[in-house]
């Protein structure tokens, strides 16, 4: 069979008995038809030997040589003895190179049993993820406490700068989202409460839900998305550009210089953001209470005073501090774990947000079970 290519170079190949003659120009462009022909030709081949006659092969690129080698290997696996006859010297040399087993060597890999695989994977997760996460958490926690009383461990004004980025700049979105959540929460409840004539309890529901649960949670989710991702991206980028190495070789600890100011800023601003979320959420609830259930703002506020306990407020703030701690640690962990490369920055940013939010929800449920 002869296949003509547009550039006048063509491959010639024919299986005649036990001889496969390959000639002409065996290059990338001609391989598809060649491989299809060979598959078809050898499908029902019953012989024990095949001779590859290559004396008329004028040209072969790496793809062509690899294809010849590949077919030889396939036939050998079927128990067919393959002989190469008459290749030009340069083709022979390339074929010899491909015969080097080291090029294609794959590590044999031990086969592990099911339980062994579970054990190995758990051990890997523990070592690579959990222990290194705890290590960075310990380091950030330690230096966050020590550096409250020390100067010159980070840039002057950095805590304020981070507080603006994490807190002030998030205020609008946190307030808006919490207002909507409060509104929706009250809306969903209003219909049910009206049916039982228990309209007034919308106040209790909205206030307690916002103060002890929804306010801290919504705030944490927004902060994880904004600041958790930013922390991970910043640290990953610093790693890619050797900035963290540069800090170390200037005698500066990257944890103290970069991560501790963020922790201080988060601890400072998160309670205020949470209170903002609580207030705007309650306002959303008040709007529905007034418009759908006929409860006046004054009645709403009086009822709120009766139903709101100090412990709900304090518990909400404690939750917010735990959440911001988890967000900063998780963002820092993923940022420092990234490998070099631009694509890694995207990956660790996504992971930081997803894991932060997951940890926040888990922590929320644990604290809820403990308190209530």
């Amino acid at each position: 069979m002869t296949v003509k290519m547009r550039d006048q170079k063509h491959a010639d190949y024919q299986l005649d008995g036990e001889t496969l003659t390959i000639g002409g120009s065996m290059t990338l462009g001609s391989l598809k038809e060649f491989l299809d022909y060979v598959e078809q030709a050898f499908r029902n081949y019953r012989g024990k030997t095949v001779i590859f006659r290559l004396d008329s092969l004028q040209e072969a690129d790496t793809a062509g040589i690899s294809a010849i080698h590949h077919i030889r290997e396939k036939l050998t696996e079927r128990g067919i003895d393959v002989k190469i006859d008459g290749p030009p010297p340069d083709i022979q040399q390339q074929l010899s190179t491909l015969s080097d087993e080291q090029i294609f060597a794959k590590s044999p890999g031990k086969k592990w049993g099911f339980m062994e695989r579970i054990g190995r994977n758990m051990s890997h997760i523990l070592r690579e993820y959990i222990l290194s996460y705890l290590e960075i958490a310990a380091e950030i926690t330690y230096w966050s406490m020590v550096d409250l009383f020390k100067k010159k461990t980070h840039r002057k004004g950095e805590v304020v700068n981070q507080a603006v980025l994490m807190g002030v700049n998030a205020a609008l979105i946190v307030g808006a989202m919490s207002f909507i959540i409060g509104l929706v929460l009250a809306l969903q409840s209003a219909a049910q409460l009206r049916a039982f004539g228990a309209n007034i309890y919308i106040v209790d529901l909205t206030v307690i839900a916002m103060m002890s649960e929804m306010g801290p949670l919504i705030t944490a989710i927004m902060v994880a998305g904004r600041s958790g991702s930013a922390i991970a991206a910043e640290l990953a980028t610093m790693k890619v550009t050797s900035e963290t190495d540069a800090l170390r070789t200037m005698g500066l600890n990257p944890v103290r210089f970069v991560m501790v100011p963020k922790m201080h800023a988060g601890i400072l601003t998160m309670p205020f953001l949470t209170i903002l979320a609580d207030v705007t959420g309650i306002l959303g609830g008040m709007l529905i209470a007034t418009s759908s259930l006929g409860i006046s703002p004054l009645v709403f506020l009086n009822r709120m005073e009766e139903s709101l306990l100090l412990k709900d407020i304090i518990f909400g703030i404690i939750k917010s501090l735990v959440f911001v701690y988890l967000i900063v640690i998780t963002g820092s962990y993923f940022g420092t774990q990234s490998d070099k490369g631009a694509s890694e920055v995207g990956k660790v940013t996504t992971s930081a947000v997803v894991v932060s939010i997951s940890l926040v929800i888990v922590a929320d449920s644990i604290m809820g079970l403990l308190i209530y």
Partner: protein, 243 residues
């Protein structure tokens, strides 16, 4: 000033460095040379303490840089300047702030004096007028010079350069080489340069350490590298000179 004695390093099962040994004398310019993947930057990271090395295998200024405790680190790193391949200036800070950072952290100098020192250093590297600029506003050559200025802002006795000419055109690279030589003379610095640039090495280095596949196969002067070294070294130098 620097002593490396039998440094070996593995990552997983792969041997990255194999029994590297060399010394750097005070006042010398030493070039650690080799092709890509030969282990040059890995040696540098050991010298900087970024990678751990046991015992007395690596000593810089009399200490193992990876085993210095937190309290000694500041005084140790005050004596070292590092010019990274990508510059490694902090992108969130201006050039002036980048150069001022080591002075702020390691000294009690007042802010106006720090600014004066920084401006002098920028003048030394011919970057007047860049004090308020951010690293992203600088060209490749300017970024390298700014990074060099930061590396020498404390007048350290020891300067490490990681592929200083990487990514630069020949003229800019030559300018940077001349700058390093001038600063070496003016400040009496010892310089360790990781590079694969043969012309720079021949112009600047007092000593060459040649690495191949993680092993040190030649130590000597650039002249002897051209004439009496192993063939692979001569070939490297010849190709580097375009022969």
């Amino acid at each position: 000033m620097i002593e490396v004695d039998g440094l070996s390093f593995e990552i997983g099962d792969k041997l990255i460095l194999n029994n590297i040994s060399f010394q750097v004398q005070r006042g010398d310019i030493t070039a650690i040379l080799g092709s890509s993947g030969s282990g040059k930057t890995t040696v540098l990271k050991h010298l900087l303490g970024i990678y751990r090395s046991p015992g007395n295998v690596v000593t810089v200024l009399g200490k193992n840089p990876s085993e210095i405790d937190e309290k000694e680190q500041k005084s140790f790193y005050k004596q070292i300047g590092v010019l990274y391949q990508e510059g490694a200036l902090l992108n969130s800070m201006t050039v002036g702030e980048n150069l001022g950072l080591p002075l702020e952290q390691h000294s009690d100098l007042p802010a106006p004096l720090i600014e004066d020192i920084v401006r002098m250093k920028l003048h030394q590297v011919d970057l007047d007028g860049t004090y308020e600029k951010f690293p992203s506003e600088l060209s490749g050559g300017m970024l390298k010079r700014a990074a060099l200025a930061r590396a020498i802002v404390m007048d350290p006795p020891l300067l490490f350069c990681d592929e200083p000419g990487a990514g630069l055109d020949p003229i800019t690279m030559s300018t940077l080489d001349q700058l390093i030589m001038d600063l070496h003379k003016q400040l009496g610095m010892t310089v360790v340069m990781v590079t694969h640039e043969v012309p720079s090495t021949l112009n600047m280095a007092d000593q060459v350490v040649f690495l191949d596949k993680g092993s040190s196969i030649f130590k000597g002067t650039p002249k002897s590298a051209l004439k009496t070294s192993p063939a692979i070294v001569q070939d490297f130098f010849a190709r580097g000179l375009g022969k």
